[in-house]
Amino acid sequence: MAERHPLFMPLILVGGLIFGFGLGFSQMARPEVVLNFLTFEDFGLLFVMFGAAVVSGIAFAVMPRIRDTAPLTGDRYERRLKSFDRNVLIGGAVFGVGWGLSGICPGAAYASLGVGNVTILWAIGGMFVGAYLQGYWRSRSSARSAAPSSAD
């Protein structure tokens, strides 16, 4: 791996700090608040999601126009574009069931631990179990599909 800029890790940490403070302040780190949103008792969470997307949207639109590459990595400024396939719908639906049952998503779970909610370790542990299960299945299925072509 190439040497990283000395400010790379500090900047990641500062970004995470602001991100986590915001999740605490918005109370999206509280599963109850997310569940109250999903059951239409408090629509305030819309402002968290769209507020954050608007702020990041400005950067995604402006940065590629004023600079070619990022100062700490030399990477080109690009939008976050992922290819569309069935997995986006299947994975999105499975995530939706989990989010609707628990009221917690990954970033909010980390922040929830930070506001003192040790009970959220159940959710974080579950997320690791789930991420491992899908990784195990997909490692197996890609090994199977790669096997015939690499037989020699």
């Binding site: 950067a59 100062p71 400024y77 069931v97 049952l101 929830s112 506001v115 159940w122």
Partner: protein, 184 residues
């Protein structure tokens, strides 16, 4: 429309006001922007799950994240610490602002002069939901931050469809669970 009706509608849709949500959302966006401007990386929170598993598992799926796993740990620690700073300041009442509405959810407890918070949501819901979140976000190519903040901010069609899917299914699930009388 007369003002009292507007105020009444706002109070019903937004019983905790909107300022804590809007300020929090702006900060979440700002955190993602700081990282993007400096590094060009559109950060998401769920990749941390797989990238961290690459430290302890040889499964081929996780190896693609070996190159980013160290900074993803730092990003996640930053999120935990940022929320802890919030707990030590605003949640503890050391910093007071009319923009923050504390609300009445969950329980608070004191530790070393800091007001901390605990959820009332049952552990089985958190665990089973967490497993599904872990599977779904990784198969679906993103979570609320990757698809919801960076993807929607990029006007990515994939992310817009992803967000519409998990939001609609989550609403249906939460309503069903509530209708079945599961609380909290």
């Amino acid at each position: 429309m007369p003002d009292p009706l507007v105020a009444q509608a706002a109070a019903e849709l937004f019983p905790n006001g909107i300022s804590r949500y809007a300020v929090g959302g702006l900060l979440v966006g700002l955190g993602a922007v700081v990282i993007y401007v400096g590094t060009g990386i559109p950060a998401g929170a769920s990749t941390f799950l797989e990238s961290t598993l690459s430290y302890v598992s040889d499964q081929s799926r996780f190896q693609r994240y070996v190159g980013s796993r160290d900074w993803r740990v730092v990003f996640t620690l930053g999120i935990v610490l940022g929320a802890a700073v919030f707990a030590a300041t605003v949640q503890s009442g050391v910093i007071t602002t009319s923009l923050y509405e504390p609300g009445t959810t969950g329980q608070t407890y004191e530790l070393a002069g800091v007001t901390l918070w605990l959820t009332d949501v049952q552990p089985w819901r958190l665990f089973v939901g967490g497993v599904l979140v872990g599977i779904g976000t990784r198969i679906g190519k993103g979570c609320t931050s990757g698809h919801g903040v960076c993807g929607v901010g990029s006007a990515s069609k994939t992310s817009l469809v992803g967000v519409a899917t998990f939001l609609a299914v989550a609403i249906g699930t939460a309503q069903l669970v509530a209708a079945l009388g599961v609380s909290p």
